[in-house]
């Protein structure tokens, strides 16, 4: 089963990359773009059939390695074919 983990920076954590992208977008004429926040997507392939078990495993992976919970939030979604 494929699982998508979206990792984003928490509110209040400086995102200099997002700031740089925003400033570049503004320079290109997209003046209405007032904020940009960046993140990352991690796609996992788990050899499990139970959705509950997959979500449980993915959550454990996030807490133990994939996410730095001091500065990042995460969202887990199962990818349906």
């Amino acid at each position: 089963m494929k699982v998508i983990v979206n990792v984003s920076l928490k509110e209040g954590v400086l995102d200099p990359e997002g700031q740089a992208i925003k400033s570049s977008l503004n320079n290109l004429g997209f003046e209405h773009c007032s904020d940009v926040r960046t993140g990352k997507q991690i796609i996992l392939n788990l050899d499990q059939n139970s959705e509950t078990e997959v979500l449980k495993q993915a959550k454990k992976m996030c807490e133990e390695l994939l996410v730095n919970t001091v500065i990042e939030n995460y969202e887990i979604n199962i990818l349906k074919d």
């Binding site: 954590v13 400086l14 200099p16 990359e17 740089a20 133990e64 390695l65 994939l66 730095n68 001091v70 500065i71």
Partner: protein, 230 residues
Amino acid sequence: MRSGVVIFPGSNCDRDMIVAIRKITGKTPIKIWHKEYDIPNLDLIVIPGGFTFGDYLRCGALAARSPVITSIKNHISRGGAVLGVCNGFQILIEAKILPGSLIRNKKLLFTCRETTLEVQSCIENPFLSGLKIGECLKIPVAHNEGNYFAPEDLLKQLKEEGRIALKYIKQNDNEKNYNPNGSTEDIAGILSNNGKVLGMMPHPERAINNLQGGTDGLKFLTNCVEQIIG
């Protein structure tokens, strides 16, 4: 003094650190490969700088899950001292041995230059105790993710417990870029709650000889060694 330098795939300041410690103690620190579970009893373990595991996922994240981290935690629980420099500091944070986070430099630039550090008033520790509070040290930095971030409650706790060890400081009122990474309150290094673990972004091993531009790193490391030997 019995010391060891931890080496991960991608560590690149290990040799410089070994040279620096040997210059001070006359003894070569042991090299500790990251896969080792059993390490001998040591007085000081240094986690050197580098780009462990290519900085993949987050700087220090993969190194912090290596077997050697368990041994380092045991060493700390025995009262042993640990110094983490640059990527070593990032690894200590990722291993949750030190709190907070090190995020991208505010200006998105890899910064490699000399900085001036001020010794802070802090809890008893074997790294700074022989130096004067307010003393300045010129030690270079070289990093892309050295912007120390702590949520407000943690920052308050660190201040109350005297765990902010080193700060970047202005040399004159007009100096604007004295903080190389935009860290909260100009923090350059923090201590663990027992004072035995110090994480710092600047590289003392890169300032041990006048040919490198200064010897304040040697002064800093010599003091660490003297304090640890007692």
